[in-house]
């Protein structure tokens, strides 16, 4: 079967369960394609030999009752994997080999999946183009020299390029949904507290969430139901009733009320995005749901708020990288000198910039003016959503203000890079779930995504809406394999 890597996760699971394919067949196919796809630079660490061993062992005694029986899968290099190097895309963790496993990946392996390797990402997940990685930028399978988005750029590239049937990313301000939108894939950022943060390299703890990135909504629902568990090892993990999301998935969204927030019509937004949004509204209506104009008045304050809250939390989280307990250490004349050189040489430019912003807004004399102010505005942003959800069941917006851009196009201007996350950041600030689905192409043929935002813990509802829309949109990703010689 030469087309193994073209199959969706759901198809592969079925074929393994029906014994039409073995885990070894599937694992070999993805390894071979990954080997031919080095130019994408999607992997930081390959674990192919071990993956093949595990696949062979699985086939000797297959447990076909599992949800991902013998399915190979690569994950973002922000998840700690026991005995497999975990770098977070940073020089400072270049030699870090965790002695424990993250809860999210543990849940996945328990359902029979096999680790293929660790995928490239922006350093400490700080970036929107995967250009801040110590291990180099990632190519978008859509076109040469196009960014795949970020920070889960390697994950998005690997799913779109069929190097892995499915993957997981993390999303602090849009890091799953923006790259999904840039690569024509589906990405879900779950409700804060839904997936355990245990064993995920921390960026901004009040915003970070792990989530699936997939070729379609059904695959996304299946992986989400595996990774969403209550975990006592994460103090903000929430014990709520979780569904069998893939089994309960339905395209019947008749009578649902979908809000269209006028504030997402931002200045300078390309007409293509507006047109896509209008098409989305039509799809919603075609599915028998109703759209309602709503207002989220504080939307334009979300990005400035985010750029205080996220760097503040990051500056505190990243204080642990001191060259003492693990990771890179530079030589210094004394202890303080060692700290300062280690952090100066070990962190990249963007990470240093954000640590500095965070340190400044938390420093004596500035805390009230910046950090406290941002927390108050964050409350107003959350109130906007609470108010809107009195009238609607979900909200539809574009995922990003543009399609993917060229490598190097925005690296000199941090603020223009930050503006990429304008539609995704409010969702993180309010702790809500959001899903990006591919919905069309721009004039260059690059994919564009639409975002469905839900109420907290209402993942089933947004998955259903995305599922219904997906059927109407009938999106086909244009992957030419340009990188395979």
């Amino acid at each position: 079967m030469s087309d193994i890597t073209k199959q969706s996760l759901t198809e592969l699971v079925e074929n393994i369960k029906n014994k039409k394919l073995s885990s070894t067949d599937v694992t070999k196919a993805f390894i071979e394609r990954s080997e031919k796809s080095k130019e994408l630079n999607a992997y930081i660490t390959e674990d192919f030999t071990s993956a093949l061993d595990k696949a062979k062992r699985f086939d000797q005694k297959p447990n076909l009752d599992l949800k991902m029986p013998g399915i190979p899968m690569a994950v973002k290099d922000l998840f700690c994997t026991k005995d497999v190097k975990t770098t977070a895309g940073s020089k400072i963790l270049n030699n870090f080999v965790p002695t424990y496993e993250s809860t999210v990946t543990e849940n996945i392996w328990k359902e029979g999946a096999i680790l293929l390797g660790k995928l490239n990402c922006d350093e400490f997940a700080m970036g929107s183009s995967n250009e801040t990685s110590f291990f180099g930028n990632v190519q978008n399978p859509i076109d040469k020299d196009l960014v795949p988005g970020g920070s889960s750029g390697g994950s998005a590239s690997a799913v779109a390029g069929q190097l892995t049937p499915i993957t997981i990313g993390t999303d602090t301000g849009g890091s799953i949904r923006q790259p999904a939108s840039f690569t024509g894939t589906v990405g879900l950022k779950p409700t804060y507290g839904s997936c355990s943060r245990y064993g995920i390299v921390a960026f901004a703890s009040s915003l970070d969430q792990a989530g699936p990135m997939a070729q379609n909504v059904k695959d996304c629902a299946l992986l989400y139901e595996i990774i969403s568990t209550y975990d006592s090892k994460d103090s903000t993990s929430i014990d709520f009733k979780r569904n069998q999301y893939s089994k309960e998935l339905t395209n019947n969204i008749k009578g649902k009320k979908i809000g269209i927030p006028k504030e997402y019509r931002v200045d300078g937004m390309p007409k293509e995005i507006e047109d896509l949004w209008q098409k989305g509204i039509q799809y919603i209506k075609d599915c028998g749901a109703e759209t309602i104009d709503i207002s989220l008045p504080h939307t334009s304050y979300a990005l400035p708020t985010y750029y205080i809250v996220a760097p503040a939390e990051a500056s505190s989280n990243l204080a642990r990288y001191d060259g003492v307990k693990y990771g890179f250490r530079a030589k210094g004349e004394n202890l303080i000198d060692m700290y300062e050189k280690t952090r100066s040489e070990g962190f990249g430019t963007e990470v240093q910039r954000r640590i500095m912003i965070g340190t400044y807004v938390l420093s004596s004399g500035y805390y009230d003016a910046y950090y406290l102010k941002a927390q108050k505005v964050r409350k107003l942003i959350k109130n906007d959503f609470d108010e809107a959800y009195k009238k609607v069941d979900a909200i539809l917006t574009p995922s990003t203000p543009s399609s993917a851009f060229k490598i190097g196009e925005k690296t000199d201007d941090p603020v223009s890079m930050y503006l990429n996350d304008i539609f995704t950041v409010p969702v993180n600030l309010a702790g809500l779930p959001g899903i990006s689905i591919p919905a069309g192409h721009d004039s260059k043929g690059y994919p564009l995504g639409l975002q469905v935002i839900g109420k907290a813990f209402d993942e089933q509802n947004i998955l259903n809406i995305a599922f219904a829309m997906e059927e109407k949109i009938n999106f086909k990703n244009k992957i030419t394999d340009w990188w395979i010689k």
Binding site: V97, S206, K325, E333, M338, Y339, R343, I355
Partner: protein, 95 residues
């Protein structure tokens, strides 16, 4: 508002990241453009708004204070740049 080189030096010291003159100038420029963008928040009156510290509207769960991981000394020092008999080694602190 403007972040000058003196402030950059101060933040650099607080964050334990050494920065040379050239980098400091670049950082001052970057941070000023970012803070210009952040200043937008001052348009809003927030005197009577409660700060949002966590989106999870639950109180932290209590658990009994039990040791769950035992005998993991080796694991703890496994990734250290330098160790000696289960201790982390750092440059000399006391003369």
């Amino acid at each position: 508002m403007s972040i000058d080189l003196k402030t950059i030096k101060h933040i650099s010291k607080l964050s334990r990241i050494s920065v040379d003159e050239k980098r400091a100038k670049k950082l001052a420029g970057d941070l000023n453009s970012i803070f210009d963008f952040i200043e937008k928040l001052n348009e809003l009156k927030t005197d009577n708004v409660e700060p949002l510290t966590s989106v999870a509207e639950t109180t932290l769960k209590l658990r009994s204070d039990e040791v769950k991981s035992k005998n993991i000394r080796e694991q703890i020092v496994k990734n250290s740049p330098q160790d000696n008999e289960d201790y982390f080694v750092v440059p000399k602190v006391i003369e």
